[in-house]
Subunit: 205 residues, 3 copies
């Protein structure tokens, strides 16, 4: 129940972020809907394809389509006011990637894959919807360029396996990993922490 | 038999549209062939991957490869005259998306998926070849920006389920849905109907 | 054993070529790693998805992740010296596409697919990692524009089936096909051979 609420909040946040980017690109209604949809379920779809979970999740449970469609309508109607919600959206998005990371890890474990692969699947679930969104909008994916985003998912995934070694209930390892993702990202944004640059200042300019 | 002829005409139309766009981008022979191929079978391939129909269709029936290869050779040789065929090409393309929509819906029904998912699969079959083509050519997909295209597929898909409620033979529901797609698109192009704009004139400029 | 060594050299070469292109685009550490990874295993992953080999190969054998990660670290540290290695890299890459072509064909044969499909799968295994890399970096894939690259794979694939008709051990047909790919590419680069142009000089300018 707790997870479902967070899952839906994450889906909403991803869908709205898709709408905002699609509208910046002046896409039409259909384009906006597809971008919102892909941002929300793209990462999980890629994960399911790679594992071989077919038909993929959103084809078997209409919740996602309903939540995303409603979010699109809402976001289009209230696009002018969404800037006041930016902090809430950022929070949903951050909670969303935390949850998606753990969902991806769990799916990998069900398929009996190795920990490093499961962490990769978790990171993919959380971040590749945004990658596909950026490709469709003809941009170099933003997570390849700045911000601790995927890195937060990777750290959260590693901590999941650390927590798993402790003599605690499984659910706590889940919640702990989600919190690590969220805290790492919040701290990174608050203190403007990025990955160490590969380039000298001269090269950058 | 009737369906096969239409299917092949649709494949030809999609392949030729791929050649024209690839040649505008000055791709080489291999690039032109790949773009033609992807435009023709990309939508169906994505659909089959999502449902879990592996190996995907065109791997098991050489007809597609033969038809597409011949179309590429033909289009390259006669590219200068193709502009006179623009109306015929548009018609093939329109018939093609009608048929592909119904093919996609049927595949979804075989996998026992819900109607809304089947309609999505039909739309994807008809329109995502073009999306992949545009991504490979480094363009924002044209169907996200203008023209009633995917929308015609969605309306056709809905009418399929309406026709299905009537006491008529299955084949008639198929043909009816194909006609709806075709008629909606022809009318939209003739009367220059687009989706309602999400943007004010000021924003557009 | 021989094959494994070549496979690893190919993986290294692809990973390094990914790093070089990602660093030109000024991607961050995560972006560089993902591009290197995708360049190395993207073609094989697409092949496995199309055939229905799930979970895909690199999820079940950590060798690839370890080799690619090490190559990324190495390439980032020594990026300044890599230009002196350009010839060696080109050679690894060329050997890599030869091997990947044959690996792809073998996978297709295991799935009992037709020769022309197997050749397509081989070509895809060898060249589509680079296509995905270019899409993620927001470029029109380089293999669609110039150089005998995919064409070398196709010729190698055809020769595989020719060699297969001869009364020789299977391994020799494999090695023969790999050599054809390598020789065709080396000759094409040395003598600056390209596919016949589809465009007149006027159109090009």
């Amino acid at each position: 129940m707790f997870f479902q609420v967070i899952d839906i909040l994450g889906t909403i946040a991803f869908a709205i972020s898709g709408v905002l980017i699609a509208m910046e690109k002046k896409l039409d209604l259909f384009g906006v809907f597809i971008i919102a949809f892909v941002t929300s379920i793209g990462g999980g779809t890629l994960r399911d394809l790679l594992i071989g979970n077919n038909p993929v999740g959103w084809m078997q449970d209409l919740t996602y389509i309903i939540v995303i469609s409603s979010s699109v309508v809402f976001a289009i109607l209230f696009v002018k006011y969404l800037k006041y919600l930016r902090k809430s959206l950022f929070l949903f998005d951050t909670i969303g990637i935390g949850l998606y990371t753990v969902v991806g890890i769990e799916k990998g474990m069900q398929a009996e894959l190795m920990p490093v692969i499961c962490i990769a699947l978790g990171t993919m679930t959380a971040s590749f919807g945004g990658v596909i969104r950026d490709i469709l909008c003809n941009e170099i994916p933003v997570i390849f360029r700045k911000e601790i985003y995927a890195t937060a998912c990777i750290l959260g995934g590693m901590s999941f396996y650390l927590f798993d070694l402790l003599p605690i209930v499984d659910a706590y390892a889940n919640i702990g990993a989600i919190l690590v993702v969220i805290i790492v990202r919040l701290l990174a944004v608050k203190y403007n922490i990025t990955l160490p640059s590969l380039y000298t200042n001269q090269e950058k300019s």
